[in-house]
Symmetry: C2
Subunit: 266 residues, 2 copies
């Protein structure tokens, strides 16, 4: 049945995107802009947000439950739009998943691997996993990579303070040690961070290229089939739909309509 469904060339492709919260909407926005003819389903695990300070085992358990939900919703393609989950859970969820699963790390690595000095910022768990270093070094043995966690970026973005003086100061504190290595590229290894792009670019200067998770949109061009018309988007959250809809609109400029509450994984 599933095979038939997926091989139907006239059917609109359904892309499922999941994250711990609103951060993955930066990836959703990039995908929606590039593939407006696809259907989308976005799942925000707001009952467990944030993922970045939790253990790998816990994140894998959450991600596996979400993927099984997205499969029941007939996703043709699953995008893990969370760097933390991409860092620790992709292998585990891909193993049992009958549809392709994409994390946000490989596309950013492809874009950054051409440089010789690359800096990476991410959540504590992403940085601890060393996933960016490993993948960058695999592509380019001579690359110099340095990663640091920036735990306050997510709450600053979620508080709507990205444009403030405080955010600029926090950016300066976290990025100063990375600026000293004069990186040619800085990977924004968390889907919230593009919201701080202006402050980060201002501090790092024009010699550092900012690479973020929306690189994934380009990387999918070979697998997404074009189709007529415009797809629709559905939003699911594991907690507090009203808060999700509000912050999605205010911070991520996404209209999430009526997000559905899905509490089966509490």
């Amino acid at each position: 049945m599933k095979k038939e469904r997926r091989s139907d060339k006239n059917k609109r492709l359904k892309i499922a995107v999941f994250d711990s919260g609103i951060g993955g909407l930066t990836v959703y926005n990039a995908l929606k802009k590039r593939y407006p003819f696809c259907d989308f389903i976005y799942y925000a695990d707001t009952a467990h947000v944030p993922y970045g300070g939790k253990s790998g085992k816990t994140i894998i358990a959450y991600a596996e439950k979400i993927v099984s939900f997205l499969l029941r919703k007939k996703a043709d393609l699953i995008v893990c739009a969370c760097n933390t989950a991409s860092a620790v859970a992709i292998d585990s969820i891909s193993r049992h998943c009958p549809v392709p699963v994409y994390g946000v790390i490989d596309a950013a690595v492809s874009e950054a691997a051409a440089f010789s000095r690359v800096a990476v910022i991410g959540t504590k768990l992403t940085v601890k996993s060393g996933v960016y270093e490993k993948k960058l070094l695999k592509r380019n043995k001579n690359i110099r990579v340095r990663s640091l966690p920036a735990p306050l970026f997510v709450p600053l973005v979620e508080e709507g303070w990205a444009g403030t003086e405080i955010a600029a100061k926090v950016v300066e504190i976290y990025l100063a040690p990375l600026k000293r290595m004069r990186p040619e590229a800085l990977i924004l290894g968390c889907t919230h961070y593009p919201i701080l792009r202006k402050a980060i670019a201002a501090f790092m200067g024009p010699a550092t290229r900012l690479v973020d998770s929306s690189s994934l949109a380009g990387a999918l061009s070979g697998v997404v089939r074009i189709c007529a018309g415009r797809g629709k988007s559905d939003f699911y959250v594991s907690d507090d739909p009203a808060h999700f809809v509000k912050t999605a609109r205010e911070i991520m400029k996404v209209s999430a309509g009526r997000a559905h509450l899905c509490t089966e994984f509490l």
Copy 2:
């Protein structure tokens, strides 16, 4: 059986304290200092931290599971050392619990109700619940109360930045509207906030008394029976014991030994 156990006058009382993370250790510290002869069990729901931005229903579900675990660990008395859970879940968990359950709100309300202008800061959910206003007005009809959320305080404390210039600036931004009402008391309605006490006191000035959740220690004096010797403490977490032990030591000055991992509620 249970009745016999609890009525045994020579038995050391076991006080269970739970919170979403390390914040409740400020309450644990106050209890341990006042009742060093009791046994303690501390449960940190680190797989679900933070509670403050989630919905009441979700918090109740988490709290109920934790309480059933603490009862299996033979707690004689349960302290919910989290303002958010105290605000939304105490009634629900007390209803089914065979041992007394104390939240952290009533004791702080008792201490603050004597004043005529009271300010309250807490998580989004605590403030939204209106629990401090309701309880203060019930005690003192003429009291003027104003509450505001301070969502960045928790991540600032957890990042170990309580003593920084950034923390002072964030304190100023959140508290400026409250300072204008010249409150005689400011309730620190989240167990993380006492770590920011110095910055908060510096901004509010000496005319504002700071009331925090450790008031609970005094409120329990009538129910805790004195006993000889020194009790022991056990620590349980729902995720990442090593991170809990590290932050407990560095930020809360608590030695959590080897915290046990308890993943049954993921």
